[in-house]
C-alpha cells in the first residue's frame, strides 16, 4: 500500500461504532492476499501455511492466515508493518482494495451476529480461529473468529462495495 496516498475505505464517516457490550471497527486497510493451492496439489501449501479450510492461524508479526475455501487462503497482513507473506501457492492475488473488513468485538458480539447471520457461533461449533463463509445481513461474507486478548471478536469480510451497507446493518443489529 502506498503510504503517500490517502486510502479511501468503504465507509464515509467514523470507522467505528459502539454499543452495550460490543464494538464494530473498520479494518479494511489491512493488506489482504489471496493464495491458491498449487496446480498439482500435494498439500505443501497447507503445510507451509499451517491451516486448512475452515481454520485460521496467526503467523507472527500480525499475520493471520485464513483457510477461506478448500485450497484457498486469505492472508491478512495486519495493520502493523513487517508482516511479509510467505511466497507460496500457484497464484497470489492482492485483494487489499477489493475486500472490506470489519471487526465485531465484545461480550455481546455473538448476540449481535445472531440477528444477522444464521451460522451457529457456539463455542463448540465456531471456536476461536474458525473460518466460514456465511450470509451476514444478506451479504456474502467470510466470517473469522479472531479473539483478541481473550475477548470474543469476529472479523467480517465482504466485497468492498457492500461494505458500507454491511457496516450499517451490523451496527443497527447491535443497536436493538
Amino acid at each position: 500500500m502506498d503510504e503517500q496516498l490517502e486510502f479511501a475505505g468503504p465507509l464515509a464517516g467514523a470507522g467505528e461504532a459502539n454499543g452495550e457490550g460490543w464494538s464494530l471497527r473498520d479494518e479494511s486497510r489491512t493488506p489482504k492476499l489471496l493464495v491458491y493451492e498449487d496446480f498439482e496439489p500435494d498439500g505443501a501449501v497447507e503445510r507451509q501455511l499451517g491451516v486448512g479450510f475452515g481454520a485460521s492461524a496467526a503467523g507472527g508479526s500480525g499475520l493471520l492466515v485464513c483457510g477461506i475455501r478448500p485450497g484457498e487462503w486469505l492472508l491478512l497482513l495486519g495493520e502493523r508493518s513487517g508482516a511479509n507473506p510467505p511466497a507460496v501457492g500457484a497464484v497470489t492475488v492482492d485483494l487489499t482494495h477489493g475486500v472490506a473488513m470489519f471487526r465485531l468485538s465484545g461480550p455481546r458480539a455473538r448476540d449481535v451476529l445472531a440477528s444477522v447471520c444464521s451460522i451457529d457461533t457456539s463455542e463448540e461449533m465456531f471456536p476461536d480461529g474458525a473460518v466460514c463463509g456465511a450470509s451476514v445481513a444478506r451479504v456474502a461474507c467470510t466470517l473469522v473468529r479472531d479473539d483478541v486478548a481473550g475477548e470474543r471478536s469476529y472479523l467480517i469480510l465482504s466485497q468492498r462495495s457492500s461494505g458500507r451497507y454491511l457496516f450499517d446493518a451490523v451496527r443497527d443489529a447491535g443497536a436493538r
Binding site: F53, R69, S118, G133
Partner: protein, 91 residues
C-alpha cells in the same frame, strides 16, 4: 429448511446453496444430435425417488458437488444429522 450435506463445509441451510439440477454428463458437442443435446439441456427426470444432483455451495466454500436426494421424501442419502440410509438403492 433442509440441511444440505456439503462435503467441504458440513451440513448447511439450503438457502446457503443453489441447486444446479440433476447431474448429467454433457454430450460430446462435436458428435451430438439436436435431440440428444436438447434433452440434456431441457429435460429433467425428476423422479419421486433417488436422484443425483449438483449443488453449488454459494455462501460457503464456493464448490460444486454431487449428492443424492430422494425427491419424494426430500432427504439426502446421507442425511447430515442422521444415519446413512444403507437400504436405499440407486435410482
Amino acid at each position: 429448511m433442509l440441511l444440505v450435506p456439503c462435503p467441504h463445509c458440513g451440513p448447511r441451510n439450503t438457502a446457503d446453496l443453489t441447486l444446479v439440477g440433476e447431474s448429467e454428463s454433457r454430450p460430446d458437442p462435436s458428435a451430438t444430435t439436436p435431440q440428444e443435446w436438447r434433452s440434456y439441456l431441457y429435460l429433467e427426470h425428476n423422479p419421486a425417488g433417488w436422484t443425483r444432483e449438483t449443488w453449488y455451495c454459494r455462501l460457503g466454500c464456493g464448490r460444486f458437488f454431487v449428492t443424492e436426494r430422494h425427491r419424494g421424501q426430500n432427504r439426502f442419502r446421507h442425511p447430515p444429522l442422521g444415519p446413512a440410509d444403507e437400504s436405499a438403492g440407486p435410482r
